[in-house]
Amino acid sequence: MKISNKTLWLLLMLIILLTNGMSAFGLRVLSGWGLPPNIKFPYLTVWFTAGFACIGIPMLLRRVKAARNAAGWGALTSILSIGGQVAMANALNSGLPGNIVFPVTVGGSILVVAIAGKFFFAEKMHPLSWAGVAIGFVAVILLSVS
C-alpha cells in the first residue's frame, strides 16, 4: 500500500505530537517520586541508550549502514541539543525565573527556525500555515509560562 506524502506528513505530525512531549514526562514522574536531583544523569544515560537501541537494532536487522557523514551530523545535533539544555539550566541557576527562561528559549528557537525556513531554506507556506505558526507561537509561550 502506497501512502501519499500528504497522508504521511499528517501521520508524522501526529506521531511527533504524541511522542515528543511525552518523552520529557519521565522527569515529572521522577520528581513525583521525590528522588534526588542527581538521578537525572543515570536516568538520561538509560533514556538515550533506549532511544539509540530502538532505532539502531531495526537498522542492524535491515543491514542499513550508519554512514560516516551521519556521524558528523549526529555529533553536531547532539552538541546543539545538549548545549541548549546546558544554557537553559545555567539561565535557571543564575536566578532567572522559569516563566522567563522557558518562553524565551522555546519561543526564540521557533523564531530562529521560522527565519531560517523563510530566508535560508526558501520554504513557501500558505498564509493559513503562517497564521497557524503565529498562533502556535503564542500557544507555546503561554504553555511555557503556565
Binding site: 499528517l10 508524522l12 505530525m13 506521531i15 511527533i16 504524541l18 511522542t19 515528543n20 511525552m22 520529557a24 519521565g26 515529572r28 514522574v29 521522577l30 542527581n38 543515570p42 536516568y43 544515560t45 538509560v46 538515550f48 539509540f52 530502538c54 539502531g56 542499513v64 549502514k65 557523514n69 556521524a71 549526529g74 553536531l76 545535533t77 547532539s78 546543539l80 541539543s81 545538549i82 539544555q85 544554557a87 545555567n90 539561565a91 522567563i100 527562561v101 524565551v104 528559549t105 526564540g108 528557537s109 521557533i110 530562529v112 527556525v113 523563510k118 531554506f121 520554504e123 500558505h126 493559513l128 500555515s129 497557524g132 502556535g136 507561537f137 500557544a139 503561554l142 504553555l143 503556565s146
Partner: protein, 154 residues
C-alpha cells in the same frame, strides 16, 4: 541573574540551530535513521561520562530504568518522525509541532497528578488546537495548489 538572559538567548539559538542542522543534513541526503542513531549514540556517551564522574552517585532502580526506556523510545521515535517530515514538509511547521507537543504531558499531568487547570493553560490549549487546525488546513491547501500548478505545467 544578569547572565541569565544571554544564556536564554544562547539556548534559543542552540535549539533553533539544532532544527536547521537537521534540515541541512536532510538536504545533504543524510539517512534519517542513521542521523538519529548517531545523535543518540553521542548523547549516550556524553551522559555516561557525566554519570560516571558524579561525586555522589545515585543507584538506578528497576522502575526508574523502565521509565527511562519507555520515554527514551518516545524521544527517538519523535526525532525520527521530525527528520522524516522535513523531507517533504516545512521545517517551521515541524519544529512548531515539536514544541506544541509540550501540551500533551501538561494535559497528562493535570489528569494523573490532579494539577490545577489555570485559565492561562485553558487559553494555551485552545490556541494550540486552533494552531494545529490552521497548520493542517494550510498544508492541505498547499498540496492542492501544488497539484494544480503541476497540472497547469503539463
Amino acid at each position: 541573574m544578569r547572565a541569565g538572559l544571554p544564556m536564554c538567548i544562547a539556548g534559543a539559538i542552540s535549539f533553533g540551530l539544532l532544527a536547521c542542522v537537521s534540515k541541512l543534513a536532510e538536504r545533504r541526503r543524510c539517512n534519517p535513521s542513521a542521523l538519529v542513531v548517531w545523535l543518540f549514540a553521542w548523547a549516550t556517551m556524553i551522559m555516561l561520562v557525566r554519570s560516571l564522574t558524579l561525586s555522589n552517585r545515585v543507584p538506578l532502580t528497576w522502575p526508574v530504568s523502565a521509565i527511562a526506556v519507555v520515554f527514551g523510545i518516545c524521544a527517538a521515535v519523535a526525532y525520527l518522525a521530525f527528520q522524516r517530515s522535513i523531507e517533504f514538509g516545512n521545517i517551521t511547521v515541524g519544529w512548531l509541532v515539536m514544541n506544541l507537543s509540550a501540551g500533551v504531558p501538561a494535559l497528562v499531568s493535570i489528569w494523573v497528578y490532579s494539577e490545577r487547570l489555570s485559565a492561562l493553560k485553558i487559553v494555551a490549549f485552545c490556541l494550540a488546537l486552533l494552531s494545529l487546525f490552521c497548520l493542517f488546513q494550510g498544508n492541505r491547501l498547499e498540496a492542492r495548489e501544488k497539484t494544480a500548478s503541476q497540472k497547469a505545467d503539463s
